[in-house]
């Protein structure tokens, strides 16, 4: 056997187990999910073909879908906008040269490793109305008490607060890495021209880390749009109080694993996938247009 053929055979063998897993646990489920979205199926009786009925119900006859869509949009915006603002500032601060800055970075990035479930339990304790830390501290300022997880509106605010706490370190890590790639000489030149620090940040740093910003936005949209763990644990699994935190992830879980309506849940999953794809494409277009203008 020639070395080239030997290498080709080895290549196929090395990929085979991985490809097998991809086919069984990814490609087959993908196709099967699409098939299910046109069926009515509770796992115990044979599936029944219903055409596009699942999708039609979703868009025309299920008021909860619109509520979930609205809540998810609010949650996504309420997570991403504060995350971007805070992490831009945080990355700018952490980008300085100072003693012990490495230790500060390590501490500030701790939430990266912490699981959403544990943090949701811990934040419940922080949000506790009667004796939670947040209301106690607001009390010192003469404010509150705020019904954090009890009032539907405030429950969404609470959810966003925890989500921001969790995603700021991620965004900061990515933005900081990008900022470290901005050449020092640009800043020096601008300083000589008399540009203030804020001015230099807005006109030099931010445009140069556009790519990283766009990356952070895309990943954060994908994560926020599918939020489940945090919501399930923080507000009790039903998207309550009332429908205050009823997001698409919770709706999907309920229809599949509580109501055993697998066809309907699969249709919902594909609608979510389609919206996510559209948002990602729009975002990439927008980012490209921005880069052309600048």
């Amino acid at each position: 056997m020639t070395p080239d053929r030997r290498r080709a055979r080895a290549g196929r063998m090395f990929v085979a187990p991985n490809l097998g897993a991809l086919a069984v646990f990814m490609l087959f489920p993908l196709g099967f999910s699409l098939y299910m979205s046109f069926q009515k199926w509770d796992l115990f009786t044979p599936p029944k073909f219903v055409g596009v009925a699942n999708f039609r119900t979703l868009f025309t006859a299920d008021p909860l879908f619109l509520i979930a869509l609205r809540n998810t949009a609010v949650f996504t915006v309420g997570t991403i906008v504060p995350t971007l603002l805070v992490s831009l500032a945080a990355a700018a601060i952490l980008n300085r040269k100072a003693k012990a800055i490495g230790i500060f970075r390590a501490i500030i990035f701790v939430p990266l490793a912490v699981s959403s479930v544990v943090m949701a339990v811990v934040w419940q304790f922080v949000f506790n109305v009667d004796d939670g830390l947040l209301n106690t501290m607001l009390g010192w300022l003469g404010l509150g008490p705020v019904p954090w997880l009890i009032d539907p509106g405030w429950a969404m605010v609470s959810l966003c607060v925890v989500s921001v706490w969790k995603s700021v370190p991620f965004a900061t890590v990515v933005l900081l890495a990008a900022m470290q790639g901005v050449p020092e000489t640009l800043h020096e030149a601008a300083t000589i021209d008399g540009a203030s620090e804020l001015r230099r940040f807005v006109s030099i740093t931010v445009p140069l880390i556009r790519g990283a910003l766009s990356f952070v936005v895309i990943i954060s949209v994908i994560n926020a749009f599918q939020a489940f763990d945090l919501v399930y644990v923080l507000t009790g699994g039903n998207g309550g109080p009332e429908t205050g935190t009823y997001v698409l992830g919770i709706m999907l879980f309920q229809h599949a694993f509580a109501f055993l309506d697998f066809g309907y849940a699969s249709a919902l999953a594909w609608v979510m996938f389609a919206i996510l794809l559209a948002l990602t494409v729009l975002q990439l277009r927008f980012a490209r247009r921005m880069s052309l203008e600048i």
């Binding site: 993908l30 479930v117 304790f125």
Partner: protein, 282 residues
């Protein structure tokens, strides 16, 4: 002394103080929920309302109660077992396939790689339901197999990551070995794998933390306490002992500690992995 120099020194002192104040403020924001949980885990149930960070009489017995209220060690063992199996499998099969995609030419390779990239776009929400039905068809629901096998043979994400690292290695490393008559396996195992140890570390840490923190999959797969993971155990406990904060916080801290240990040990690899992949932004 000249005035301007003094002013410059004063300004740089003010700036340094402001910088450290900002850093300390940020560190506090990142840590206060965890510190508050630690403090709460050492308080008594009636004393939970006191807003002091350091309880006067730390109640270590809360931790002992966690062990009696949930099978903590069992769940810890399960979680470690699942995390280790999946991590080892991911690292091995993804690096093997990543090497093939980067260096070994075979027909259909590039088409196949595009397929891998395309599956990266598929969100978890679409695959979780059919995967659940698949596990049910295999008879694996409520068994450890459901927690281990789907992740054991690698993933598109890991393969992509490893391929990118293999591409950065110089080809002459390999050419010399080919001339010496090494087989592709020997080249992978003896020569290239030692060179991409940092990449292996990145993938291993990301996978380990991800399995440790996973919640949706164990939630739909597992009902039995004796094969449950720690996150699942915590949520069950939260449902059973509503508002019994000291015990809940003690359990949370116990679940956090091994993670913080891994983070402290592999912080660089972890942060690097997140910068490269956006993984773990959840």
């Amino acid at each position: 002394m000249s005035g301007p120099t003094e002013r410059v020194i004063k300004r740089s002192v003010v700036r340094a103080v402001a910088l450290y104040a900002a850093l300390i403020g940020m560190a506090w924001c990142a840590l206060f929920p965890i510190l508050w949980a630690l403090s709460g885990s050492l308080k008594t149930e009636p004393g939970i309302a006191e807003p002091n960070l350091f309880p006067a009489h730390p109640q270590w017995s809360n931790y002992a109660r966690v062990f009696s209220l949930m099978p903590f060690w069992r769940m810890l063992g399960n979680t470690v077992l699942y995390a280790c199996c999946v991590t080892l499998g991911q690292v091995f099969f993804c690096s093997l396939a990543g090497y093939a995609f980067a260096r070994l030419r075979f027909r259909g390779r590039d088409t196949l790689f595009v397929l891998y990239l395309a599956t990266l776009m598929v969100p978890l929400t679409v695959t979780v339901i059919p995967q659940f039905i698949l596990m049910r068809a295999f008879g694996w629901t409520d068994t450890p197999w459901a927690m281990i096998v789907p992740g054991l043979f690698g993933s598109a994400f890991g393969t992509y990551l490893m391929r990118q690292f293999f591409l950065t290695l110089p080809t002459d490393l390999e050419e010399a070995a080919v001339l010496d008559g090494c087989s592709p396996w020997q080249i992978y195992w003896r020569i290239l794998l030692p060179h991409i140890r940092p990449a292996v570390m990145v993938l291993a840490v990301l996978t380990w933390v991800n399995v440790w923190n996973d919640f949706l999959w164990p939630l739909v797969m597992i009902q039995r306490r004796d094969i449950a993971t720690l996150t699942l155990g915590l949520v069950w406990m939260q449902g059973q002992y509503v508002s019994r904060w000291p015990v809940l916080m003690a359990a949370s801290i116990l679940i956090l500690l091994p993670l913080l240990g891994v983070y402290g040990f592999a912080q660089r690899a972890f942060v690097r992995g997140i910068t490269l992949t956006g993984f773990g932004g959840r």
